[in-house]
């Protein structure tokens, strides 16, 4: 006999069934290929990142076997170089960044009170690119084709002269493709945090982790582009002989160091801040209180993020920079200790005011405190130039960075996985194995890396495969190796314990930790749709304020209850106040992200095997699929404002001037702008610092090029505006479209004109830079032309109207960017010749 449900429970069940139908992926392996839901994508991301962590850990064990004894014959020096390069590369690029991105994709929608990320297909694309790019790097290593120049690949060591073969290319192309994935995730995170939240969730009410991830995602958008540019320059130098880093032809290897560390130092905080966000989330719950100094912590996170962009040269203290230059960066390096300390004291204060309970996540957080503070203090030591000179490139540096990255990142992330395990699996961790793992891991970590500090202070160089017995480092290294193996056993026990708990632990009740944030308002494990209705909140800890809220959400008390329009919908709010503003219509399951990731990865990886034609064809495939992707969004008719529930009528995201795609484009252009700025910085750096400048000759602009560029730029800025105006007034947009087309062609012609009489790109870095600047203009002209053609087709097929003019406004953004950066690029190339 079927048990009878009360009317409220029955209503909740009806909503659940409707939502599951709309939000689920097909069952089986096909479902994994087409799913775009954040729960699936996040889990896939998390699983793959963990697999890479295991691979990176195994490589670390090989390093420690080699160093355990003096004059070790365990592996040849060449193999050792590949192993330590791959250990660093795997841990930094394939584990650390993707792991927190995975947790963000999994958890942010729940914390923010929304149903999914802003761009579900982009998230799926990012994860597949990451899987293909990362796997290619690992396969290359297994085939003995791994890079061996260290994880930061300094030229000239990584140039073709000293790194022949494809090892360095594997690194450059594989890692760049993974950075594309990181930028995709960052765009998604920023738009989600700024616009996709529960009603009433103002900035002041946002969960602390959302603040941290907003800051981190903006950092990714501004820190990764210099690194991408550096990789492009190095790959172009290796493949085509354009001498960006070759001194004799006007290049400078220090340019690589600048571009790399412009990324590399913020990268440390990009990794640390999500962990700090997790601590800020978990610690108050474990201490049964609210976080102390919420506003101070937010201010500290923002300050740390911005200040971290002023530290990159502290990795270059030994490169012969003038004292004054060193002093700027030494001062900035000591400065970042202040916001970090603000966070640490806020956490200590939170513990002090609360009543902490020693659940397993709390143990790992205490492990973080004990370790990270030491890593932070050795960081301040390294900010002092004379000390840095003493320990530069020794094991002291290796020990310091592991204290920061394992203590400051891995330990809090383990705490986070234990804490959120009920949300992911529906089961509550309960085995003692987790505690044993903790007590193995943390002491083993300190044994390993305290010993390594000592070895470094005694002068042991990093990246050297062996050492002599008479140097007196045997006991230290042997202890470090013993510690490292115990550490590996500890991490293996953690993974085993998590696996056992995920499968065998008892089912968890809702909100098992009695947390106050929204992600715990859902049934466990979290359903694919997240919330039965989008809640209205009135504080930072809505579940503390209203313990019945989860049941009310399940019954559909809130916005967009159920799925009456049989499509995936969630709420878009005003950024500052959290007031409901739009109804977002999200895409459903799609194979497009998977296919686009295949062709994108192919375009990156085919050149490794000399298959340049395949790469070119793959690029055409990327453009074709991207156009088809965009085509599948939008509507042919005006729907008008829709009922969002609670008596509110809101426009859909298809019928507003700033649709999510507009925000996404804006952020992508931010990254693109930083990339372009880095290119100008590189040009200025070579011009002022590199030897063998000026070049044999400058290029003279003449009249035709500047006239084409100026006229084209103006038309390119004016045309899209006229198009938007015409669409908004239901007038034919032909003039605007034509003007845009003429503008972009004129700008491209100006770049072509410049190259017609341009210098040989292989003879001097100036010539190479001019070609790269022209390449920037031409690439963006092609993108703008494709977008223009797309918009014209959409207008012709009825996809635009005065309400639906968002696509034209997106074209306007891209056209403005193309015009402004195009004019700047051409001016930069012509200016020296004009004034010479």
């Amino acid at each position: 006999m079927t048990p009878r449900l009360g009317p409220r429970r029955s209503r909740a069940l009806q909503l659940h069934r409707k939502l599951i139908t709309v939000w689920s992926a097909p069952p089986g392996w096909r479902g994994w290929l087409v799913t775009t839901n954040n729960n699936d994508i996040g889990l896939l991301f998390l699983g793959v990142a963990t697999a890479f962590f295991v691979i990176g850990g195994l490589l670390a064990m090989l390093i420690r076997i080699q160093l355990a004894t003096p004059r070790s014959a365990f592996m040849a020096a060449e193999t050792y170089s590949q192993i330590f390069t791959m250990h660093g590369t795997v841990m930094m690029f394939l584990f650390a960044i993707p792991f927190f991105e995975a947790l963000s994709i999994l958890l942010l929608p729940g914390m923010l009170g929304t149903r999914d990320m802003a761009f579900p297909r982009l998230g799926a694309f990012g994860v597949w690119v990451y899987i293909f790019g990362g796997s290619a790097v690992i396969v290359a290593m297994i085939m003995g084709l791994a890079p061996d120049g260290g994880w930061f690949m300094y030229p000239p060591l990584s140039s073709t002269a000293f790194s022949p073969g494809i090892g360095a290319d594997v690194w450059l192309l594989g890692i760049t493709s993974i950075e594309v994935s990181a930028i995709a995730a960052a765009v998604e995170v920023v738009v989600t945090v700024l616009r996709y939240r529960a009603a009433g969730m103002s900035l002041a009410r946002m969960p602390i982790f959302a603040w941290y991830m907003l800051v981190v995602a903006l950092m990714i958008l501004t820190a990764f582009p210099p690194m991408i540019l550096g990789s492009v320059l190095l790959e172009v130098e290796r493949a085509l002989g354009w001498p960006f880093y070759r001194v004799e032809e006007g290049g400078d290897p220090l340019l690589w160091q600048h571009l790399f560390w412009l990324f590399g130092h913020p990268e440390v905080y990009i990794i640390f801040l999500p962990a700090a966000g997790m601590i800020g989330t978990i610690l108050p719950v474990m201490a049964r209180t609210q976080i102390l100094g919420y506003g101070w912590v937010v201010a500290a996170a923002i300050s740390l993020a911005v200040l971290s962009f002023g530290l990159w040269v502290h990795h270059m203290f030994a490169t012969g920079i003038p004292q004054l230059g060193l002093a700027f960066f030494s001062a900035a390096s000591t400065l970042v200790a202040v916001p970090t300390a603000v966070m640490v004291f806020a956490w200590i204060g939170t513990l002090w005011q609360g009543r902490p309970v020693m659940h397993l996540p709390m143990l790992w957080i205490l492990g973080f405190f004990a370790t990270f503070v030491i890593g932070g203090l050795t960081g301040v030591m390294l900010a002092i130039v004379p000390f840095d000179w003493q320990v530069h490139d020794t094991h002291f540096i290796v020990a310091h960075l592991h204290y920061v990255l394992i203590g400051g990142y891995v330990f809090p992330m383990i705490a986070a996985v234990y804490y959120f395990l009920p949300l992911l699996t529906g089961r509550h961790p309960q085995f003692r194995l987790g505690r044993i793992a903790f007590w193995v891991t943390v002491p083993a970590f300190h044994l390993t890396f305290l010993a390594m500090h000592w070895a470094g202070l005694l002068g042991q160089r990093r990246r050297i495969a062996t050492y002599e017995a008479e140097q007196g480092w045997e006991a230290i290294n042997f202890s470090a190796s013993i510690g490292a193996f115990a550490l590996a056993i500890g991490f293996a026990l953690v993974i085993l314990d998590l696996g056992l708990n995920a499968v065998l632990a008892p089912r968890s009740r809702r909100n098992p930790w009695a947390a106050g944030t929204l992600e715990w308002a859902v049934p466990l494990p979290s359903p694919v749709y997240g919330f039965g209705a989008i809640p209205v909140i009135e504080g930072r800890a809505p579940l503390d304020m209203d313990p019945a809220l989860p049941h009310r959400i399940a019954r559909g008390e809130g916005y967009l209850a159920g799925a009456d329009r049989h499509r995936r919908e969630t709420l878009i709010v005003d950024t500052a106040t959290g007031a409901p503003a739009q109804v977002a219509v999200l895409p459903g399951n799609s194979i497009l992200p998977f296919l686009l990731a295949i062709v994108t990865s192919l375009s990156f990886l085919a050149p490794l095997f000399g298959a340049h034609l395949v790469s070119a064809l793959a690029l055409v495939g990327v453009a074709g699929l991207a156009v088809f992707w965009a085509w599948t969004s939008g509507r042919k008719v005006d729907e008008g404002p829709v009922d969002a529930g609670l008596g509110q009528i809101l426009p859909t995201s298809h019928e507003v001037p700033d649709p999510p795609g507009w925000w996404g484009s804006l952020l992508l252009l931010l990254a693109d702008g930083v990339h372009f700025g880095s290119l100008l910085f590189g040009y200025a750096f070579l011009w002022t610092i590199a030897p063998n400048w000026p070049p044999p000759s400058w290029i003279t602009p003449g009249l035709v090029g500047p006239i084409l560029a100026g006229g084209g730029g103006l038309a390119l800025m004016f045309g899209p505006r006229r198009t938007v105006r015409a669409i908004s007034r239901s007038q034919p947009p032909r003039t605007g479209l034509a003007l845009t087309g003429v503008g972009v062609l004129a700008l491209a012609a100006a770049a072509g004109w410049m190259l017609r009489n341009g210098p040989d790109p292989t003879s001097h870095a100036f010539g190479a830079t001019v070609w790269l600047l022209a390449g920037h203009v031409l690439l963006h002209a092609v993108i703008t032309l494709i977008m223009l053609g797309f918009l014209a087709l959409r207008i012709w097929r009825g996809y635009t109207s005065p309400r639906r003019n968002g696509e034209a406004r997106i074209l306007q953004l891209w056209a403005d960017f193309t015009a402004v950066t195009g004019l700047l690029a051409l001016t930069a190339a012509w200016a020296p010749g004009a004034f010479a």
Binding site: P322, L324, P339
Partner: protein, 99 residues
């Protein structure tokens, strides 16, 4: 818009000033020092003056209509940026230019 400006401008200004000082320092030393050497203290002084002006605007001026949280956040960040500008600018006045 006002909120976004008040929160982001102070540290953005520090970043621009810091980059300007570093870039000008490189250019100064690359060109032999003297013609641009007065520029460095001037850039630090101008950045510091702008920071203090911005701080005054945030403390006394336009962002007063912002919600409390954003107002406090922008004030804190303006203090941080001012301190950072002074702290990272001090070496210009005490160290030789291109030694």
């Amino acid at each position: 818009m006002m909120g976004a400006l008040a929160v982001s401008l102070p540290l953005l200004l520090w970043m621009i000033g810091f980059s300007g000082i570093y870039g000008l320092h490189g250019a100064t030393c690359a060109t032999g020092g003297t013609p641009l050497s007065v520029g460095l203290p001037a850039v630090v002084a101008v950045t510091a003056a702008l920071q203090i002006g911005l701080l005054a605007w945030i403390l006394l001026g336009a962002p007063r209509q912002l919600p409390t949280f954003q107002r406090r956040l922008s004030r804190t960040l303006a203090f941080v940026a001012s301190a950072a500008t002074l702290w990272t600018g001090v070496p210009v006045f005490v160290l030789p230019l291109c030694a």
